[in-house]
């Protein structure tokens, strides 16, 4: 009897150990690639190559790549080359911030305003508009990018902020609208009816009662839009260039310039991933709820 009990206990413990082993493997799978890229940015190139190709433990770490990229006026030990000693990364981060904030604001306002009547007000073509919003999301970006490129070139808007932000907003707005329809539908309609009976206008109801209720949805949409526009690359590579340089374009084009400058390129990449990752981690709850809510309900 005692031996049997201890054997089941051991079995359970073994199961527990095995379970935690899987958890560790998952964590490694998620985090190790990022950690490795970060490692390449805090070592001098020869040290990193030795570590990577022969597992030689390096003796010193440094943040020279970051210092040169973010504070170009401070001299460091890393070679300048085309990557250092200029303001191109700071300019690119500024451009990307402008693009991401503008796109987020526009998508959020347009998308959620459009979502409210689609969720609440009965009008003839409502179902068709809803279907339209879904079908539009199926359009592959490249199918519209060819005409958009032609249009923007004709208007002289290639490599300008509006020439990139407007198509991006149009591309993202249907998804935000679709997500917000779900959030608006989940608010209790009685509150709105009561407010209307009490003499509140439709605008008043929307601004004072409904919008505060869907605040989590707005946060989720905003984070989604920010993340999507921060890292967007396909439209960017066609519609922007040297005047407006999103960070995705900067990273993509770096390889052609200097083939093996991994430290530089990865330091840029780390800087580029920080804003979206920090935002996503901080607001993870909202984001996950927003992304999964619609699908799970339907």
């Amino acid at each position: 009897m005692p031996s049997r009990r201890s054997s089941t206990k051991m079995k359970r413990n073994l199961g527990r150990v095995f379970f935690y082993l899987i958890v560790v493997v998952i964590l490694l799978y998620i985090l190790a690639p990022v950690a490795w890229m970060f490692t390449s940015t805090v070592l001098y190139e020869t040290d990193f190559v030795r570590l990577s190709s022969n597992l030689d433990i390096p003796k010193e770490i440094n943040f020279d790549y970051y210092i040169t990229l973010l504070f170009p006026w401070i001299p460091t030990k890393v070679e300048y080359g085309i990557f250092g000693g200029s303001w191109f990364l700071i300019k690119s981060v500024t451009d990307t911030t402008i693009i991401a904030l503008a796109t987020t604001a526009l998508t959020l306002v347009l998308g959620s305003l459009a979502a409210y009547p689609l969720a609440r007000i009965r009008f003839g073509r409502r179902q068709s508009v809803l279907t339209f919003m879904v079908v539009v999301q199926m359009i592959p970006g490249l199918a519209i990018l060819i005409p958009i490129f032609i249009i923007m070139r004709t208007l002289g808007l290639i490599d300008t902020f509006p020439g990139y932000i407007l198509p991006l907003t149009a591309y993202f707005a249907p998804f935000v609208a679709w997500m917000m329809v779900g959030f608006f539908q989940s608010t209790p309609v009685e509150l709105e009816d009561q407010a209307i009976v009490d003499g509140c206008s439709r605008w008043g109801v929307l601004a004072r009662i409904v919008l505060p209720l869907v605040a989590p949805g707005l946060v989720a949409s905003a984070v989604w839009a920010f993340l999507s526009s921060w890292g967007e690359f396909m439209f960017a590579i066609v519609l922007t260039g040297s005047q407006v340089t999103p960070i995705s374009v900067l990273i993509a084009l770096a390889v052609g310039e200097v083939q093996a400058r991994w430290g530089w390129m990865c330091a840029q990449a780390i800087i580029a991933l920080l804003p979206p990752v920090v935002l996503a981690v901080l607001l993870q709850r909202y984001l996950v709820k927003g992304l999964t809510a619609g699908a799970i309900k339907g």
């Binding site: 379970f19 935690y20 890229m37 347009l110 060819i146 890292g231 339907g298």
Partner: protein, 307 residues
């Protein structure tokens, strides 16, 4: 009678007035969003369709168009170079979707249990999804590097291979490498969806199954999977569409060289490298048609919810 008769029309009138005001309100809210979508989505997609029937010449003075009927479409259907691209696209998609599903499901099953540090794993899970794909591509380029890449080094150290593999230049290997990198960016969303779906299954179902003396695997097979069947199918379609549209990862990792040219990247190359806007639009439309077909199947399986 007369009393009622006199009241009814005015009530009706009032109602239509309210309805009309509501309609105006709805239109005002919808208009900005719809206008933007009409100008920068609907118009371009129609323009693209128009381009597929044209011969487009890009010259110094701009574009010159010439109607060629179904010429581009005939070209597409007789283009021998597309055959390997189609096969590769299907291969890439099955690999990407299959592995993402497998890993996503495993992660969701683990996160469905209660354990210490669960919250940490949950938060970490969002990271691969949040990182811009261009950055992930650069990151995997570093890891898969043939010359000094850490993956080759580790594989050699533990004795799995003798010589480092040319992950990104070996034509037999490169498409798999890109798919592996793409899986890393795709699995978190799947895991999150599965997890959200698992959480909708009531505990009572499991308890009932436990009383019936079922094993863990039986409960998974006969309780969990049927309950999330719809979500699995939906995610299957969404992920397949996303996988068809792989672009960033290919651009960063291989540029379509070393036998990694897939359909969508080919659209880009034809349109913006060779400037064959007409043929590019045709190829893009063919993909759009495939996606719509998939979506139609999806909508048949799960009709849009009506209120």
């Amino acid at each position: 009678m007369t009393h009622n008769g006199a009241k009814a029309p005015s009530a009706k009138k009032k109602r239509t007035r309210i309805e009309r005001r509501d309609l105006l309100f709805a239109l005002l809210l919808l208009a900005p969003c719809l206008c933007l979508i009409l100008v920068l989505e609907s118009f371009p997609i129609i323009f693209s369709l128009f381009l597929t029937f044209q011969n487009v010449q890009v010259g110094m003075k701009g574009l010159s168009l010439q109607f060629v009927g179904l010429g581009n479409w005939e070209h597409m259907f007789s283009d021998q170079a597309l055959i390997p691209i189609v096969i590769r696209t299907l291969y890439f998609t099955s690999l990407d979707v299959g592995l993402s599903f497998l890993i996503g499901l495993c992660v969701a099953l683990v996160l469905n249990e209660e354990f210490r540090g669960k919250r940490f794993v949950q938060v970490a899970l969002i990271i691969p999804w949040a990182i811009p794909v261009v950055v992930s591509g650069r990151m995997f380029g570093l890891i898969f590097s043939a010359g000094f890449g850490i993956l080759n080094t580790l594989l050699i150290k533990i004795g799995l291979i003798n010589v480092g593999l040319r992950w990104l230049t070996d034509t037999n290997l490169s498409i798999n490498t890109v798919a592996l990198a793409q899986v890393w960016t795709h699995f978190p969303l799947l895991a999150l969806f599965f997890l959200a779906a698992f959480e909708t299954i009531s505990e009572e179902l499991y308890d009932a199954a436990k009383i019936d003396g079922t094993s863990r695997w039986q409960r998974f097979r006969h309780v969990t999977i049927p309950s999330v069947r719809n979500i699995i199918l939906m995610m299957l379609i969404i992920t397949t569409i996303a996988s068809f549209k792989v672009f960033d990862m290919i651009y960063i990792m291989t540029m379509g060289y070393a036998d990694t040219m897939v359909w969508y990247f080919n659209v880009f190359v034809q349109s913006f490298k060779y400037l064959y806007f007409d043929y590019g639009a045709t190829l893009a439309y063919a993909l759009f048609a495939a996606i719509l077909l998939l979506t139609a199947i999806y909508l048949r399986l799960f009709p849009l919810r009506e209120q």
